[in-house]
Amino acid sequence: MAGTAIRGRLTWQVASVESVRQETASVRTIELQLPDWAGHRAGQHVDVRLTAEDGYSAERSYSIASAPGEPVAITVERLDDGEVSPYLTDELRVGDEIEVRGPIGGYFVWDSHDMPSQLLLVAGGSGIVPFRSILRHRERSGSMVAVRLLYSARSLPDVIYRAELDQHQSGVSVNYTLTREQPPGWHGYARRVDEALLAEVAWPARAEALAFACGPTPFVETVAAGLVALGYRPGLVKTERFGATGGS
């Protein structure tokens, strides 16, 4: 992996908000302008720090939603009892400044020169965010790797990036499962992700696909265990858990 290792110290920098875009009722994408950014890899995250007037500060990690080479954007889901997310989704305006450090992470990443025969992406709720970066990176780099995406959300209005995901990229199959509410005439899946659903959607284990699972902790545990039960080698199943928050 020459040239992709991150060296040097991780320092906080002040980022200014370039644009905001409402994705769903509770989810917003925030594009940032960072004075010092050496580039990132698809799947990495940033830490965001907010500091109150009294000096109290809170930090959270957010996956980078944009592809390497694009301006850094994060997509944030509002958690009603959250300390950080309601500010980012409700209060933050274009031109405002927040403290950011990154890029962070070297495990839950995909590089276009990683050449597994196939890629499986399984997202629960806002676990879709790093996959937007991976899918954009795939598109921008001209990678031909075949992708199956399984995205679990509560309902269709809760699906983040729907318009973008529905723009069919050749070689990418997008499968939704709506666990709580389905629109009339819904043809997609309508149940929670489990081993049986994975068996229908995932590449067969013999394909030696590289799998990524991201979402709430219980969701990711179910997906990882299900894929291993289907014969996936644990080393080919990469996971990222963000707690029991958010809908899947």
Binding site: I104, Y107, R241
Partner: protein, 86 residues
């Protein structure tokens, strides 16, 4: 409190070790199983950050922040190997 995984402390570990550590392989001093830090069980506010073995749940690392200083306890690890950065 929800268990996260080692991805969530990539920034903290970079602060402590000065390099990307989620791909580092930790070996549990209790059960001997080895795996990437990214796959460990992590509790962020336990208080302090507590990292546990995915196989046997033993404590591998504890990081406690005191002001500008991080206090790091690695007693639960037999080994921690980070790939050489290029």
């Amino acid at each position: 409190m929800d268990a996260l995984d080692g991805n969530a402390i990539g920034g903290l570990l970079m602060e402590v070790f000065g390099t990307e550590m989620t791909v580092a392989v930790g070996t549990c001093a209790t059960c001997g199983s080895a795996g990437p830090v990214a796959e460990c069980i992590v509790y962020l506010r336990a208080p302090g950050t507590v990292v546990r073995c995915r196989a046997c749940a033993s404590v591998l690392m504890v990081v406690i922040r005191r002001g500008e200083m991080n206090c790091v306890d690695l007693q639960g690890l037999a080994r921690l190997e980070a790939p050489a950065s290029t």
